[in-house]
């Protein structure tokens, strides 16, 4: 039975492997060139006098953002491709050619036949995505270090262990689609649509709630601007802070109100005197007398909710578990249904 599944899986396996070999080579190139640039531009900058590290980092990021984004996009696409090209034809092609009537009248029950058919591509799915995901994690590690976060939607989904879960889910979804639609192309299209929808909606709808978020109170001082935050004052509404980023964390609150030490919302009238001050420090001063310093003296704060950076690995494992479970449920369902469908 294993020979039979290998004989039928051979061609799609080799086609996929050929494509992935080219991708793996590109990742090796990315890994080496980011390392080289990191050593010369970032490490070299720390040793050299008069070198501005933030500028060097910005240059490094802008140089490697396009190739890293492209590599991420391919790895995020990989589960969908596995689902469409390995999962969907597994049963879809049998029904299309009528060969299920040949296979199901041999001396092997449908369920055993399906189990054997799932085994080899399932194993290949795990090995292939694990290998490529770890290769990308290696290739992008200098980039991730400079960028300072691995929790963004695209980088989280393309690093470490979660791609394996996504790919197993996509493979199981493709197999199920083949059983229910009984044609290869519609099953491929349905697999792509379902996998894309789940992976697209997951980061905004599900991931933030996988663990109870942490709420933290942040004092409003000069440091706030270093965290990509913008403060907005309006005439008729309370002041709010937007885009505050805790390093490496998954931020759940993009916009949050500024509050006084008593917890009251901040109206423009509260800080009227500060708004009149000059926005930038005068040359040669330490920033005294600016808007920011004036605001700091008012002891304002705001609350942010987030999943902190140190939860990265727990989130990786939780998502791997969730998607593997989803894949197992789909496979069990397909395995159960196949004994009852019309041949």
């Amino acid at each position: 039975m294993i020979w039979v599944t290998w004989r039928q899986f051979r061609t799609p396996a080799l086609v996929m492997l050929a494509g992935c070999a080219a991708y793996a080579l590109a990742l090796c190139w990315l890994g080496y060139s980011t390392r080289h640039a990191y050593d010369t531009e970032i490490l070299g900058c720390r040793l050299a006098d008069g070198c501005r590290l933030t500028d060097q980092k910005r240059a490094f990021l802008s140089e490697f953002t396009p190739p890293v984004s492209a590599a991420q996009a391919v790895l995020i696409l990989l589960p969908a491709l596995i689902g469409a090209f390995w999962g969907a034809p597994l049963l879809g092609r049998e029904f299309e050619a009528g060969t299920q009537r040949l296979a199901w009248t041999q001396s092997v029950t449908r369920r055993r036949w399906l189990a054997a058919k799932l085994l080899l591509p399932g194993l290949a799915t795990v090995l292939l995505t694990a290998a490529l995901s770890f290769l990308l994690t290696w290739a992008a590690d200098r980039f991730d270090e400079v960028e300072g976060t691995r929790f963004t939607a695209l980088s989280f989904a393309s690093r470490d262990v979660v791609p394996v879960g996504y790919a197993l889910f996509a493979f199981a979804a493709g197999t199920a689609a083949g059983l229910f639609l009984r044609r290869t192309l519609p099953a491929m299209a349905a697999t792509l649509a379902v996998v894309a929808a789940v992976l697209f909606l997951w980061p905004s709808l599900v991931r933030p709630h996988l663990r109870p978020p942490v709420t933290e109170s942040v004092a409003f001082d000069q440091n706030v601007r270093d965290h990509d935050a913008n403060v907005s004052f309006g005439h008729d509404r309370p002041a709010f802070v937007a885009g505050y980023q805790v390093p490496g964390a998954l931020m759940l609150s993009n916009v949050t109100y500024l509050r006084t030490s008593s917890g009251a919302l901040v109206r423009p009238s509260t800080v009227q005197d500060c708004l009149a001050k000059p926005p930038a420090p005068m040359p040669g001063t330490d920033g005294a007398g600016t808007v920011d310093q004036c605001m700091t003296s008012k002891h304002l704060h705001f609350d942010v909710t987030m999943q902190p950076a140190d939860r990265y690995w727990s989130f990786q494992w939780i998502e791997l578990g969730a998607y593997t479970l989803l894949a197992a449920l789909l496979a069990t369902f397909t395995h159960h249904r196949i004994a009852q469908v019309r041949a």
Partner: protein, 264 residues
Amino acid sequence: MTAGRLETVAMTPVIETEGLGMRYGRRVALTDCTLRVPAGKVAGLVGPNGAGKSTFLSMVCGLLAPTSGRIAVLGHRPGGGAARLAEVAFVAQDAPLYPSMTVADHLRFGARLNPRWDGRYARARIERLGLDPAQKAGRLSGGQRAQLALTLAAAKRARLLVLDEPVASLDPLARRTFLEDLQEYVAEVEVSVVLSSHLLGDLQRVCDHLIVLSAGRVQLAGDVPALLAGHSRGDGERIVPRPDGRPVDLEDLVLAYMAGEVVR
């Protein structure tokens, strides 16, 4: 083969159905089908297109579960477990094969999936047919495909061989060769056969039992000599007599039943 073995085989009918029915949603494909095919026969299932022949044969092989009634094949519910599957071999309509697999791959497929596989027979038959083992099934002619499919089914060494419209897509020469091969096989091995066609002419030479199916119902079923004898006696069932006075033959009988001309 001993007489005792023959008797036990003969006692269990290969197919026994009672009120068997199949509907696809609202469409009724087969209704109230009660019949009994004795062991050791070559049974022909004749009926116009859409009469329910494929549905019936799929139920015999366990590919379809009936929506009503009961069916037993070799004394058991068809398709229930590997042991039951090993007892019935099937060549589906249009002889589906894996287009990208070679002839040799198909034999290996049969060998891996069937415990009683007769590899020597399969290879000998492929050689006799002149099929190239390295040829992909997708590049075979209709006749070659049918022959390869028959080889797979025959080498399985099942107790019942089921063939759904095996000669429908073949030219007259391939048709004759196929049926001769089938007759030869049946003569060599102890096996019961059920095969279907919409043309009686295909089956007339090889069948000794006949089931006429029309509009989802069994119109006539029985051993061929008994059927002919019964009708020439005119015991309760009469056919519109032939104008030229020639004795009623199988074709007249079947056509009359298909056309609904029989008065019960």
